[in-house]
Amino acid sequence: MNYSTLSLLIKRQFKEHYKTYATDLLVLLILLIFMFLVVHQWKDSFSGAVQNGVFVIGLFIAGGVFSNTMFGEFSSPQSGMWLLSIPAKASEKVVSSIIISTVFFLIIYVITFYIADFFYLLFAGTLNFEAILNPFENGFYQFFFIYLIFNGLMLLGSIIFNKNSLIKMLLTIAVLFILLNYLNGFILSFLIPEATIVSSIAFDSFLFSHYGENVKVFLSDNINFYSALFVRIIFPIALWVLVWLKLKEKEI
């Protein structure tokens, strides 16, 4: 990995798209403020941590769209060839895209969110230090790790699909998510056939009905550690490696 090439690639990405990024940032701020206004207007319908909800929705909408643009050059053969011809390793091209769509994006997103949150709290008349969202409370930070998986999938989609990659990848993710959910339920019913499974979350927990009472079962601490390691680290890295392999074998 050549660090000067990496910095050149990052510089190139920003120089070529800074106008789009500036517009996107403004749209993001407006979207977040709009979502805050909606939850404020119908606050009786939204109980609980509305800031957390707005944060997660904004993170995945903006992050999905942004990550998908990282290899947007493949939407046309001409720009795709231009990208593939840039004298840099495929790994450097992928790493620069990951840095931009995770590190830089998350920093900018968090700053933008807190600006919108500030205005929301100011408008709602509840502005104080405790009211500001703390992402490290109640394990909320886990969404950052889920974002990494989402980022890997969106990058993969932007290389695999040449046209309408955002929609195609979102549909693929939805189908995969449903299939995974059914598969998880099937495995559970196979492992514990006597239990009536109500719901389940892969690599986390399941809920079953026992004499009319719902019982939630979490993974043991030991397994939970490996599960967290898999979901938070191994799975995103595996997806990024897949992105690298797909880029290496990309033909135009």
Binding site: N2, S4, T5, L8, K11, R12, K15, E16, E73, S76, P77, Q78, S79, M81, W82, L84, S85, I86, P87, A88, K89, A90, K248, E249, E251, I252
Partner: protein, 272 residues
């Protein structure tokens, strides 16, 4: 050197673009790859530039496999496709960002081209006409001073004065370390520029020869009337008479009429 051995390329199991292509390109020569539209010229070029991978056989550019798209390979090969892309930057920004990717990029050389084209470096790619964009891209390609320069239909979209400028640019920037590979279906555009001719038809190489070797063996002549001479290998009617090809029996190297040669080869009247 570029070496292509037993190269096959299929778009799918049923669609075979070419089979068993064998070619060699040496430094210090400008090659003209000629052929009608859709005969596989662009596909061959994409195999050499690493945009497509061969179905069978091998292709090597100075010992490197194009499909691997290694940095050393990409730094030493510039490809100007027929339908090209320029990032939405000013020409100044384009150079500032991309020059560092090419170790032999010569900024002064590029500046000289922009002056010759009379294009302001403060203009963005979107503000340029198609012809101006192409000139900038060709200027960039030459200034990158790569060992291999490949251009697919470079004269498309250029007006007549620009075609002359293009030819002069190629001649001036050419040196013995470089391989220049140009494809065109507009045969006359490459006249006087190329050193070797490759004629491709239906996925096959019908002719691969140096221009001098052709001139040594063939004599091209224009006459007012049709000749019924048995030594005539090929003859066709042109606007100002009859153009013919016959064996060169003298020691002098004459002019090679590429268009006539192309037609003769395609009519399967010539085998060199």
């Amino acid at each position: 050197m570029i070496t292509i051995e037993s190269l096959d390329y299929n778009y799918s199991k049923k669609i075979n673009i070419f089979k068993n292509i064998n070619l060699q390109f040496s430094s210090g020569k400008i090659y003209g790859l000629l052929g009608k539209n859709g005969v596989g010229k662009s596909t061959l070029i994409k195999n050499i530039t690493g945009m497509l991978f061969p179905t069978k056989g091998s292709c090597e550019v100075f010992g490197l496999t194009p499909g691997k798209r290694e940095v050393e390979f990409l730094q030493d090969l510039f490809f100007v496709p027929e339908e090209y892309y320029l990032p939405n930057l000013t020409i100044k920004e384009l150079i500032t960002i991309y020059k560092d990717f090419y170790p032999n990029f010569d900024v002064n050389q590029f500046d000289a081209y922009t002056k010759e084209f009379n294009i302001s470096k403060d203009k963005k790619a979107t503000e340029l006409s198609l012809g101006q964009k192409k000139k900038i891209l060709i200027g960039f390609a030459l200034s990158a001073n790569t060992k291999v320069l490949i251009m697919d239909e470079p004269t498309n979209g250029l007006d007549i004065p620009s075609k002359i400028t293009f030819r002069n640019m190629i001649k001036d920037a050419f040196n013995d370390d470089r391989i220049v590979f140009i494809t065109s279906h507009q045969v006359r555009d490459l006249d006087e520029l190329i050193d070797a001719i490759i004629i491709m038809h239906d996925g096959q190489i019908l002719l691969n020869s140096d221009k001098d070797a052709i001139a040594k063996r063939l004599h091209f002549e224009l006459s007012d009337n049709k000749k019924d001479d048995l030594t005539i290998l090929y003859q066709e009617k042109v606007s100002n008479g009859f153009a013919s090809i016959q064996k060169n029996t003298s020691d002098t190297l004459g002019y090679v009429d590429i268009e006539l040669l192309f037609n003769a080869v395609l009519a399967h009247k010539l085998k060199l």
